[in-house]
Amino acid sequence: MANDKSLIEILKNRGVSRRAFLKFCTTTASMMALPPSMVPAIASALEKARRPSVIWLSFQECTGCTESLTRSHTPTIEGLIFDAISLDYHHTLQAASGDAAEHAREEAMKENYGNYLLVVDGSIPLDNPGYSTIAGISNLDMLKETAKGAAAIVSVGSCAAFGGLPHANPNPTGAASVSDIITDKPIINVPGCPPIPVVITGVFLHYLTLGTIPELDELGRPKAFFGQNIHDRCYRRPFYERGQFAETFDDEGAKAGWCLYKLGCKGPVTYNACATVKWNQGTSFPIESGHGCLGCSEPNFWDMGGFYRALSEPILDVHRAAGIAAAVGAGAGLAVGVVNQMKKKRAQSKHETVTVDDFKEEA
C-alpha cells in the first residue's frame, strides 16, 4: 500500500545516509539531463515526496520492458526508484495472483483515487477481447476502468505507446495503443523495444520529484530523451558525410566502423537517447556494435520496409504494379495511336486540293 512515510524516512530505515541521498540526487539530475544547480530542488522535492501508488498493467507484451527495468540484482539507481514508488500491482512481479491480486489492485485504486500513476506495457487487442485477458477481465475493460482514477498514464514500450509488434501488418488482434483508447488523461509515451532502462526511470523520477509531466513532443514522448535523433548524435556520422558506407556486415567498411545506412539503419528518422545515453550503463548501442538502428522508438517500425533495407528504398514492391501499369499504358497507347491514325487518314481523304486559279477566282 502507499506509505505515509516520506521517502527520506524510508531511506533512513534502510541505513541510507543523507550523504548517500545527496549522491542519489546528484546522479538523478544528471540522468534527467538537468544541470547540477537543480540538485537542491530535486533533493527537497524528494525529501517531502510520499511514495506514489503505482499500478502497472501488462497487456499484449513480451515482458521485455519489465525485464529491461528490473534486470539488475544489486542496488542501482533503477532499483532504488522501484523502491521509491509503491508498486501496488504488477502481475508479473507480484507474489499474489488471481482474485487476491485483483483485490489488491482495486484497493489501491480506491485508496488513492485520482492520485495513482498508471503504467502500461503491451498493446490492447480491440478485435476479440479474448485475445488477452487477466483474471477473466479483458485488457480493454481493465485499462478503461483503471485509467478512470489515474493522475497520469505512462505507456512503457512501443507496444503500449504505438501498438508495437502486435500492431504490425496484418495486425491480427486489432492491437491498439493506450492513447488510441484513453483520450482524457495525460499520457507519457516512453517507446522503445525495449526503452532504455534509465529513460523509463528518468520519466518516473521526473514525475516523482517535480510532480509534473515532462515536456512532450508531437508523439507524446519526453523531449529530454526523445528530442534528438540518433543520426544527429551518432559517432559514425562523419562516415555518412564522407560517403563511406559498409556494404555487408563483414566487409572492410564494416570492420572500419563505417556508416550503416546501406545496411538499413533507420537512425535518421529515429528519435531516442541510444547514441548518447547508450545501453547497459553507457556500454554501447546497436550501431556501435555494428548493426543498424531498427527505429524501435518510432510508430510502425516493424512495417518500415525491412530492417535491412535502406531508408531511401521503397517499402512496398513496385515492380508488379509498374509492370501492369506499363502494360495498360501500352494498350492505351495502341488504342490512342489507332485513333490518331484514323484521324490522319480521314483528314487525308478529306483533303481538298487547290490551285492558284481557284484563288484567283475567289479574288
Partner: protein
C-alpha cells in the same frame, strides 16, 4: 497525421501510385509518338542515316556553334550547370543509388557526399538564375506559360527539399524527408504529360534529325 505515418505513406502507397502513373504515362506517350509514324521519304538516300543518327545523339550533348553560344550564353551555361548538377545529385548520391538498386537490381559507385552537396547547390542556383531570366527578359516573359512555370517548380522542389533534408534545416528531418519524397512523386505523376518527356524523347528526336541529315549526305 504524424511525421512517421506520413513518411511511411510516401515510401509505401505514395510511391506505388506515382510509379504506376509514371510507367503508364511513359509507355502511353511512346506508343502515341511511334504510332504516328513518319512521312515516307521519297527522295533517294545519298548515304545511310543510321550511323549519323546515333552520332547526333552523342554530339548534341556538346556545346553548340559559336554564333548560338554568343547569343544565348547565359541559357547555355545555366542549362549545362543545372543538367549536370541534377545528374550528379540524382544518380551519384549513395542513398539514391540504393533506391535504384532496390528498383532495378543495378547499382554503381557514388561520389563522396560533400561533392554531391556542391552539385546540388549549383544546380539550385542555376535553376533560380534561369527563372530570373525567364521573368525579366521581355520576350521570354511573353512566351512563358503556366506549363513552363509548372515544370520548373516540379524540378526545383525535389532539389530544394533534398538539400534541406540532408542538412536538417527548418523542419524536423522526418517531415523534410517525407516532403522530399512527395515532391519526387509529384514530379513522377506529371512528368509524362509535360515537356519533361524530353528526358526520354531527346534520344528519339536527335536520332531522326541526325538520320535525316545523314541521308541527305551531310557529314555527321
Amino acid at each position: 497525421m504524424t511525421s512517421a505515418e506520413f513518411l511511411l505513406w510516401v515510401r509505401g502507397p505514395g510511391l506505388q501510385i506515382a510509379t504506376v502513373i509514371f510507367a503508364f504515362g511513359i509507355i502511353l506517350r511512346f506508343f502515341e509518338i511511334f504510332m504516328m509514324g513518319r512521312k515516307k521519304n521519297l527522295s533517294a538516300k545519298r548515304a545511310s542515316g543510321t550511323g549519323a543518327g546515333f552520332r547526333t545523339v552523342a554530339t548534341r550533348f556538346l556545346p553548340a556553334d559559336s554564333e548560338t553560344m554568343r547569343r544565348s550564353i547565359f541559357t547555355i551555361v545555366a542549362g549545362y550547370i543545372f543538367h549536370i548538377g541534377l545528374f550528379v545529385t540524382l544518380f551519384l548520391f549513395v542513398p539514391h543509388i540504393q533506391l535504384f538498386d532496390a528498383l532495378t537490381g543495378i547499382s554503381w559507385p557514388g561520389l563522396p557526399t560533400p561533392v554531391v552537396d556542391f552539385f546540388a547547390v549549383i544546380s539550385i542556383i542555376a535553376l533560380l538564375a534561369l527563372m530570373w531570366q525567364r521573368l525579366t527578359k521581355p520576350v521570354l516573359r511573353l512566351l512563358s506559360t503556366g506549363h513552363d512555370h509548372l515544370v520548373w517548380t516540379l524540378t526545383f522542389l525535389p532539389l530544394l527539399t533534398g538539400y534541406l533534408a540532408y542538412h536538417h534545416l527548418f523542419i524536423p528531418y522526418t517531415w523534410m524527408l517525407a516532403f522530399h519524397i512527395l515532391s519526387v512523386e509529384l514530379l513522377m505523376i506529371l512528368f509524362p504529360f509535360t515537356k519533361l518527356m524530353h528526358a526520354f524523347t531527346l534520344f528519339v528526336s536527335r536520332w531522326y534529325t541526325g538520320s535525316m541529315a545523314g541521308e541527305k549526305g551531310v557529314k555527321v
